[in-house]
């Protein structure tokens, strides 16, 4: 399993801080995959990263982070699902390479995961990929140029990075003949 903040309660703490929520919820875990659980004051408990994250965004009154129209909302959900099902728990080098390759292609014409606007999908994709990107060599980062550009932009987005390490990207390419 990938190490780092990618999973569970720790990541939700990060998200709370970046959303400006100061209360600090307590999270439990459930099952073998340590799925986070949040017991709300006024209702049933919420299970799973994306469910709780969506709840936190609403709590912070930042609904625009969930997408501003029907299509964008769908794309946000799509990438949250991708994050949980494809990225989480990925430790196989080859699988990681495929993820990065696909993502690199996808981000070629996009600044944010949904296109033009910063959303929750960017935040959770960033958290989920942090440990993977941190392990990349300079040459690999350059190979996945669009991922790197996106990642660097998101880690500089106000409030997002919190205590996670700042990953360095070189903007002047060194390996210009490699694509």
């Amino acid at each position: 399993m990938a190490a780092g903040p990618g999973l569970g309660a720790e990541e939700l703490d990060l998200l709370e801080k970046s959303l400006g929520l100061t209360k600090g919820n307590k999270y439990g875990v459930q099952g073998e995959r340590k799925t986070p659980v949040l017991q709300t004051n006024s209702g049933p408990s919420l299970t799973g990263l994306t469910t709780i994250a969506t709840h936190l965004v609403k709590q912070a009154k930042k609904e625009q982070l969930l997408g501003s129209n029907a299509e964008e909302k769908a794309i946000v959900r799509q990438w949250l699902e991708y994050r949980v099902t494809q990225i989480d728990g990925q430790s196989n080098k080859d699988d990681i390479r495929i993820i990065l390759k696909d993502l690199n292609l996808y981000l070629e014409d996009k600044v944010y995961v949904t296109g033009n606007n910063f959303t929750l999908a960017d935040i959770l994709m960033y958290y989920g990929l942090h440990s993977i990107i941190a392990d990349l060599t300079v040459q690999e980062k350059e190979k996945y140029l669009n991922v790197s550009r996106w990642f660097n932009h998101i880690q500089h987005y106000p409030g997002v990075r919190q205590h996670l390490s700042n990953i360095v990207f070189i903007k002047n390419r060194l390996y210009t003949n490699v694509h």
Binding site: W150, N152, H156, N172
Partner: protein
């Protein structure tokens, strides 16, 4: 904390004077969207009447240049030039929070003005019908635009925005400067190689702060071409106000009544002129000359479209005005240095390009004679006025000293022969002693 949508209401009410849909004013208005500055825009009568209000003594007292956009704070602070206004109404994040970032932002803002505005105007204005189409100039402008997009593309390959990780005045300025290109002429196949620029541009225009000012921007689907009809419609408007400027109030007002409906094209024309003038100061170096009955453009049309021997040459001699124009013979002074024919041709076309702004007031046929390593260059030039035009602008002086210039007596037989042979690219060329290789026309 993620940035909140709240605007700081710390700015007093401020005024921006402009004409409607002015891309330069957009820079300031988008910057204000980011900073939360409240700006009242005065762009339509009766509050602001472009071409009238900005010529009043009251306006000129505040803004001596009389240009728009112009900005006035409610504390009386006045500033003109769109970049300065955007700087003032923006915030620290837009201006660059470190010395380095601030310098890079100025770098891109200046790049937009110096490198993008001129070719963008040359290419786009004819498609809007506010400037005459010149194929050579347009082709040159297209190449320039390619170069600029290439520069931006490699910069944006590894970057989200031009400077740092947030939108700055650099992005606002360059986006606004590229706006007309993207709307009018950068059709999908033309812009396709510049993926990184496209991504950045589309992201910017879709930011809520850009959208609030620009609305939905529709990217070009098919490259717009010269709009001759619209140009013809705009023509009288173009000429009249220019001449009327110094004329008495009464007449001026009549004129302005006529103009009332459509104020925009006039200002855009001003921009064309700016783009065309190599130096802001050197407006028209031929302005002092009395009007000439010889219409160079008409001759060039005849020369380009009709038979040279039976139509263009007779037209030339029938209408040529030797008081207003002069004919010159020019010979390249260093024929021994000429080697490959294609290089010699580049020498000629390079000179033509550098003389681009002289086109309205000159015509030439320059011929390369001989073969590789044994060639010569000579040509016949027609200039407005009686002097060589080159000293009038520093841009024009690069090549002319490499040529020996001799003024021809327009009534002489020699002149008639030279004009005929050089215009035709055919004849004895008795004075040359080498065979015709190829010719180039400056028009």
């Amino acid at each position: 904390m993620l940035p909140s949508c709240l605007r700081t209401p710390s700015f007093p009410l401020q005024t921006l004077y402009t004409y409607p849909e002015n891309w330069r004013a957009f820079k300031a208005l988008i910057a204000a969207q980011y900073s939360g500055a409240k700006i009242k825009v005065l762009s339509t009568p009766p509050q602001f009447h472009f071409g009238q209000t900005n010529k009043t003594p009251e306006f000129l007292k505040k803004f001596p240049v009389g240009k728009v956009p112009a900005f006035e704070g409610d504390d009386g602070f006045c500033v003109f030039e769109s970049n300065a206004i955007a700087h003032y109404v923006g915030n620290d994040e837009l201006r660059g929070s470190t010395k380095e970032a601030a310098a890079q932002i100025i770098q891109w803002v200046s790049f937009a003005d110096s490198d993008i505005v001129p070719p963008a105007s040359t290419w786009v204005f004819p498609t809007l019908g506010i400037m005459h189409y010149n194929k050579q100039a347009t082709e040159y402008a297209k190449e320039e635009v390619k170069r600029i997009l290439g520069v931006l593309d490699s910069h944006l390959k590894t970057r989200t925005f031009l400077v740092g990780e947030r939108v700055t005045l650099a992005d606002i300025t360059v986006v606004c400067t590229l706006l007309w290109l993207y709307k009018q002429v950068l059709e999908p196949s033309f812009r396709q190689p510049y993926d990184n620029v496209n991504r950045w541009f589309v992201t910017c225009i879709n930011q809520p702060q850009f959208k609030a000012v620009l609305g939905e921007v529709k990217l070009c689907e098919k490259m717009a071409q010269f709009d001759a009809k619209k140009f013809a419609e705009n023509q009288p408007k173009k000429d009249v106000p220019k001449k009327e400027k110094p004329v008495k109030e009464e007449k001026k007002q009549q004129q302005e009544k006529k103009e009332e409906n459509k104020p925009e094209p006039e200002e855009e024309l001003d921009e064309c002129e700016q783009a065309l003038a190599s130096e802001p100061k050197s407006k028209d170096p031929f302005a002092h000359l009395p009007k000439s009955p010889f219409i160079m453009d008409e001759f060039k049309r005849k020369y380009s479209n009709e038979d040279t021997l039976t139509v263009a040459l007779p037209y030339f001699w029938e209408h040529f005005d030797k008081e207003g124009w002069s004919i010159w013979y020019a010979e390249y002074r260093f024929p021994e240095e000429l080697s490959q024919a294609f290089m010699s041709c580049n020498l000629i076309t390079g000179m033509f390009q550098r003389l681009d702004k002289l086109r309205k007031n000159a015509f030439a046929s320059v011929i390369l004679f001989g073969t590789n390593n044994s060639s010569s260059i000579s040509g016949v030039w027609v200039f407005r006025g009686q002097e060589l035009a080159f000293p009038l602008s520093p841009d024009w002086q690069v090549d002319y000293e490499s040529y020996a210039w001799r003024k021809l007596d327009a009534t002489s037989e020699e002149c008639k022969t030279l004009v005929k042979e050089y215009y035709l690219w055919d004849g004895e060329f008795a004075h040359v002693g080498k065979a015709f290789n190829q010719g180039k026309i400056f028009k």
